[in-house]
Symmetry: C2
Subunit: 142 residues, 2 copies
């Protein structure tokens, strides 16, 4: 197979995680942290849903997502609507304010990234985007 590539990827992944973690959490960008951003991002992509489904998608414990969601609701970034069909359930949706915050966070992060990748060719950037996307789907258990 492609053993050499596998080993390179394995090695670079370990470094990559460190770099990306440093990139996303070192610098507090605005009012959001990475976990909050990711959760809001999921909520924005999803048909309105509750913490259980979101936790599965994020591969996090329900309790973790419950707390994150509570924090976001507290800040007014998401609203939690009771499900009329099921008294146990809620559906989470972004508020206007939430959307604004998310866009701002994304903007700042993207600018940082653009700076770091300024000497990359369009082609490499496109390929990397596509392969990273593919990789994320490959390691998703679903």
């Amino acid at each position: 197979m492609h053993q050499q590539s596998i080993e390179t990827i394995e090695e670079e992944l370990a470094i990559f995680i460190r770099r990306v973690t440093s990139f996303s959490s070192h610098r507090k960008l605005g009012n959001l942290d990475r976990a909050a951003y990711l959760l809001m991002h999921r909520i924005s992509k999803e048909v309105p849903t509750g913490v259980k489904i979101l936790a599965e998608q994020l591969q996090l414990d329900i309790s973790t997502v419950s707390r994150q969601a509570a924090a976001l609701e507290q800040k007014g970034y998401v609203s939690k609507l009771p499900d009329p069909q099921d008294g146990r359930s809620y559906s989470l949706q972004l508020t206007e304010l939430g959307l604004t915050e998310m866009a701002e966070y994304k903007r700042v992060r993207s600018n940082k990234l653009k700076e770091l990748l300024q000497d990359w060719s369009d082609e490499d950037a496109e390929n990397f985007a596509q392969l990273l996307h593919k990789f994320n789907r490959s390691i998703c258990p679903k």
Copy 2:
């Protein structure tokens, strides 16, 4: 540089961290965790050096690396030699046992990875390896 690629990478980076964090903490591979592996990896690549330099390279706080190094020394995976030129400094080196453990960890990780990427083409794997490498160097502060 295409804005679209940047935004895709930005988005996928957030997802990536979540996936990988979940992946590597759910399944404990042997006696090492990811942080320990990465530190040992750095030590193995570097001319013998102390925690300060290693912390810079890993973009971690010195105190964090100091603790990680102490743990590795405790387990007998690295040895900490006092610098004869400077009484404040030490140089860290892998022991035989450390090398063995690292190789084993790498083997297990590579196998997992191979499994996950089994339906990837050689070409994609090679490109991904190369771009990851490039990305890691681009985002490196030094």
